[in-house]
Amino acid sequence: ADVKATMIIYLDPSVQFFNPVVKGAQDAAAQFGVDLDVQYANNDPVRQNDLIESATVSGVDGIAVAISSSDAFDSSICAAVKTGIIVIGFNNDDLEGGKGNCRQAYVGMDEFASGYELGNRMIEKFDLKQGDVVFNPREIPEASFAVARGGGIEKAMKEKGITVETVRSGLDPAEAQNIIAQFLIANPGVKALFGTGSVTSTVGAGAIKDAGVNIPFGGFDLAVEIVNAVESGAMFATMDQQPYLQGYYPIAQIALAKKYGLTPTDVDTGQGAFLDKSRISSVKPLIGSYR
Amino acid sequence: MMSSPHLLELHNISKSYGALTALRDLSFHVGHSEVVGLLGDNGAGKSTTVNLISGIQKPTTGHLSIDGEKTTFSCRSDSADAGIETIYQNTALVDSLSITRNIFMGRERVNAFGFLKQTEMREIAMEVLEKAVHISGIDSPDKLVGDLSGGQKQAVAIARAVFFKRRVLLLDEPTSALSVRETEALLAQVLKLKAENVSSVLVTHNLYHAYQVCDRFVIMSHGTKVFDVKKADTTISQLTEYVVLT
């Protein structure tokens, strides 16, 4: 291969969301003849810096990196760009966009917006009113995806005078299901449940059943369990952001830039994110590959 | 060797710890119904010898034989199978367990499914503690060994070895923490066992005690044997001289 590229993911390898991202990147690598390696920062900004600098040292032509902090990676990315490496951001961007960071382009969507959209759709569909309480458990409250999605939900609710309660559920499904169910027992007035990541979105329906209540439930991400829940009506809808594209475009752009000098450009992958019962069955066969 | 072989023999045993040679070319034997006194200065290698015979340390070179047959002990169970029972210098007790459990540690009385016969063990423990050494102050076999006084701990170690004795009893400074009365009781035990055809190796710094019960003396110095003599052929002052001067 005449192009070498490194993809750096901020979270750890067990996060299901990145499966289609990596597949997209690999597909692009195969099509454009790129020698690709994928690294994971395990939620640690110091480690992500090490990874960016290591990639720079090992002499790759391009780096695709999740810019999960507006400040933490500015200098190492700039240093990489200075040595002639093409750097494309994906999944998360600097809050100031291209002004705050040397990356040449960003491929991804706005998670805050998808949380906001889900919130508003739930309000509309289930008639949530001023003074109601909804519940939004988060597996890792301080993780950037949780802050963005949860923040979107909170914004939507706040506009209608609805309160959002939240709790740390952890990544263990059995534990998360216990905690959600216990919360629902303690708070029988809760009017709706929102998942945040794939764990809370997977176990939410079970927790509602355990608590013996009957409330609507919406969440994020795609997994067989979640799709089944949407199909069966136990879940209202789930939000998707076409992660495949977030892997495909950065690598493709690196290859095109390196080979033909084409300038990288921003790509918004956030169209068609909302998946309810009416759309879910078309998505189902593609889970784990393209979705 | 035309007579019947000795019960236990050590052949040219050496043992090193890193740079230090703890034992060098050590050979001696223990006969049937014989009490051997193993004497020597501090650090002479007596405990190392006892540990080798017990199988919890391995010689660097040399070997043992039992009834004339060459053997090597690779762990304590091997020596137990050969009929050897030991009272270690450091007592080898588990502080966090009760007296009963310490006595039967590794050799529990169990039913067909491996469950403990607790009442039976409890009773035996109390009995053997009273019989082997007349220890005072232990009113319950359920006391934790960690809560016992120095002498009481040693008494538990003695009781265990005496109860399970079969052919050879190794006693590594068994009376160091015992009071007068308990010491007398123990020495009497050693003689009684000899009458029951159990041989003993007694390590002690008290030459009077050794002289009182031993049939033969092996004196060690700096890891080697310097003297090996029958009681009939020596006196306590000669022994003292050898122990002190070599």
Binding site: Q16, I179, A186 | V94, D95
Partner: protein, 339 residues
């Protein structure tokens, strides 16, 4: 002549009779039992006084508690025996996930759950044996070996199945055996009770348990007296691995799917439950009842905080504080007993 002859009629017995309470306090796990009972009484009184605000006694809540306890319970029982034997296992969280994924994918591929589940447990046992063998063969600290195991088996999950959550879809009878309701009681809870009884017999009434305590209490002494301490530790490692797999089965049967990232941090929770229950980190001390009470205490505290609507964002902070407070309380009781 200065001979003074003081009280020659010394009483034979030097032990006083102690009150029942003091006796309980000094029993192993006695103090933690008192802490637990106190907590329960407070909760029950509170629930009876404010049945609407504090739904501790509502059937749903009791059911959730019964469902919540077994997973951590199984992990803690296995980890606890190993700790009494003087070793750690930090890999149980990863093993829990790995065996669960293995089992779920086997069932997905058409294998009966009644074959897949034993295979999962067997895998757990084998991993435990591997941990034990490396630890003992090379004389390494089990902390480092099983920390390696933690990372290794987490990686193995990804290698085996990628970062994909797996649906768990066994025969219905299997699910009801592990997550159903038997005579009004949650099946998983019945399992954990059976395990507690079984481990109690094994550890406190069986020869093997005696060897475990001896090995952990003073390994050199146990070896010197003829106990094969390596074998004892190896079996304890196997039990820890096997119980991690059992925890995986119970959790998976409950939730119906396995997440590749689950199980992280469970090893510390399990060790914490053991330590709260009176186990010593250096081995040789502890009791099965203590471990189980430790697990129940952690879950009761979490449950009560949720029922009291403690601010969820900081829930862990409250749990942490209460656990430390409970441990301190436990210690004060114990010390009063010994005085």
């Amino acid at each position: 002549m200065t001979i003074t002859m003081t009280d020659s009629a010394v009483p034979k017995s030097r032990t006083r009779k102690q009150s029942l309470l003091k006796q309980i306090m000094t029993m192993p796990a006695g103090a933690i039992l008192l802490v637990f009972i106190t907590l329960q009484i407070v909760c029950i009184v509170g629930a009876l006084a404010y049945p609407d605000d504090f739904r501790y006694l509502s059937p749903q809540n009791l059911t959730i508690l019964m469902k919540a306890i077994p997973v951590l319970g199984c992990l803690a029982l296995g980890a606890g025996i190993l700790m009494i034997a003087g070793e750690f296992d930090l890999s149980i969280g990863s093993v829990y996930t790995f065996t669960a994924i293995l089992m779920a994918t086997l069932i997905d591929a058409g294998v009966s759950a009644f074959i897949a589940a034993p295979l999962g447990i067997l895998t757990g046992v084998l991993i435990g044996l591997l941990n034990g063998t490396i630890t003992l063969r090379f004389g390494l600290p089990s902390f480092i070996v099983t920390l390696g195991g933690l990372l290794f088996w987490r990686g193995a999950v990804l290698l085996y199945n990628g970062a994909v959550q797996v649906r768990f879809d066994p025969e219905p009878i299997f699910t009801s055996l592990f997550a159903g309701t038997i005579l009004g009681v949650n099946a998983a809870f019945i399992w954990i009770i059976l395990f507690v009884v079984g481990f109690y017999l094994l550890l406190h009434r069986h020869k093997f348990g005696n060897h475990v305590f001896a090995t952990g209490g003073n390994r050199a002494a146990a070896t010197a007296i003829g106990i094969n301490t390596d074998r004892v530790k190896l079996i304890a490692f196997a039990i820890a691995g096997g119980m991690a797999a059992v925890a995986g089965i119970i959790a998976t049967a409950r939730v119906g799917s396995v997440q590749p990232g689950q199980g992280a941090g469970l090893e510390l929770q399990a060790i914490a439950a053991c330590v709260i229950g009176g186990l010593s980190l250096s081995g040789g001390r502890g009791s099965i009842i203590g471990i189980f009470l430790g697990v129940m205490l952690i879950h009761t505290i979490t449950d009560v905080l949720l029922l009291l609507r403690a601010p969820g964002f900081y829930l862990d902070m409250f749990i942490a504080t209460l656990i430390v407070v409970a441990a301190a309380f436990n210690h004060l009781i114990e010390r009063r007993g010994a005085a």
